[in-house]
Symmetry: C2
């Protein structure tokens, strides 16, 4: 399932498709499909039924074409997933605005508010497209949308006293936090759909083993946590409320803010 870039020679093809560098053919019949249509169909399937249900045959059926026709537009499944990723990343961007304009709008209330908005956007994106977390992203795809998003984030952090390396590290930090937390929360929420086992069945099956543990004194803290209803929240409630996410995000931003406020003098030599 990992992104493998198949043949290797297709890499250039894949990049060309992503960046719109494909020249239109003059001869032959007009293409009945388009990369965009295929990507959209694929995203729809993945959104609704998960990445496991995404197969070339499935997409082709959805579009009413033969399976192999897809390969006239996309070199392979891995490349298609790359394109899906970049398309998803692009959803939050406004194509008519330059990175400068978008960053300016985000910075209106300061860099912290801007970074917060970016993080929330990314969080919402993962809720909308849970399959993003399942794709391997073996190598940064560097499509136009992800590049633009990076530029915007960099501009939001620009001019507040961080050097280039620090700016990038801050972005890695926030992105890492968002995707990591999304992984935990989102996937727990999605499980019920994906699995034939319902949430109740699952926790019921776990219960006897859990109980034996909770009665064991060695796990007293865990028991206290459980009694406080922390897990009831996780297993029962709607995970998309993002309660834990918001909390952690503020801690992360606090940490960044403290670093920024300390200034170059207040920190050790880089």
């Amino acid at each position: 399932m990992s992104t493998e870039y198949s043949g290797g020679g297709d890499l250039t093809f894949s990049l060309k498709v992503m960046w719109g560098g494909r020249e239109k053919p003059t001869r032959g019949p007009k293409p009945g499909l388009s990369v965009e249509r295929i990507v959209q169909a694929a995203i729809q399937v993945a959104d609704a039924e998960g990445l496991a249900a995404l197969s070339m045959r499935r997409i082709a059926t959805e579009l009413g074409v033969g399976t192999m026709s897809l390969y006239r537009y996309v070199p392979g499944k891995n490349e298609l997933v790359d394109l899906m990723l970049d398309a998803a990343y692009g959803e939050d961007l406004e194509p008519d605005k330059t990175p400068e304009q978008e960053a300016e709008a985000l910075r209106e209330k300061g860099w912290r508010a801007g970074l917060e908005k970016i993080a929330r956007g990314a969080w919402a994106l993962h809720l909308r497209h849970p399959w993003i977390l399942q794709v391997s992203q073996a190598r940064p795809v560097l499509g136009p949308s992800s590049i633009k998003g990076l530029e915007i984030a960099l501009r939001v952090l620009d001019g507040i006293g961080l050097d280039e390396f620090e700016m990038m590290k801050m972005i890695t930090l926030v992105d890492g936090y968002v995707t990591g937390t999304a992984r935990i929360i989102v996937e727990a929420g999605r499980a019920a759909q994906q699995t034939g086992v319902s949430d109740e069945q699952f926790w019921q099956a776990q219960e006897p083993f859990m109980m034996r543990l909770l009665d064991d004194g060695r796990f007293a803290t865990l028991r206290r946590i459980a009694d406080a209803g922390v897990f009831a929240d996780v297993s029962g409630g709607d995970p998309s409320d993002g309660d834990g996410f918001e909390f952690g995000l503020q801690r992360v931003l606090d940490g960044i803010e403290a670093y920024v406020n300390a200034g170059p003098g207040g920190r050790g030599a880089s």
Copy 2:
């Protein structure tokens, strides 16, 4: 590729195997294999060749047995992956020590140092077993090792003024950060092995597209970052040095520390 718990009825079986609740059979031939041996072989394959190369046939070949023999010990591939996960989580734990003892050792230099150690351990774990990031973890498997790890982490944070929900959120925060960052860094580093394309080939293919962008004034900040050599670090250097990881971890811990120091009075009503 997502963990699906196959039939559903096998869930109990899976849990029993994980928790060691299987009673030994009396009749019939002695089993020539064991769950542990299978799990170890599977982890070896996954470590060396990635999760994509992990197939039941491959594991069976590795062990010199027929493919279907594996199903005498493990209900299916998904359950096997669950077992692999818990086995990996257990590597950092000392079976002879109680959670209290391990937590005590971690807290020796304070809760922050303890949390730091836990985070570093998890980070190293992901470097050692990159495939962990590829498995879906649709539902928390709650094997003995992950439970014990949770108990230890909770004990490290216990008694410093956080309520039960806050303690759990802090753990989610740190875990989210570690896994998220690992996802970014580790997978970028692993890519070269997995792919037929070398790093040089990859960046060379990207270059023309990148260049066009970097000359565009709209991506001026990105250009500055690139010129500063930030990406050279990512693409060339050894990703396992964890430079960015350590930096972000300190920010995260700063954020937590600030929250803890503020005390119940210094924070808004929960």
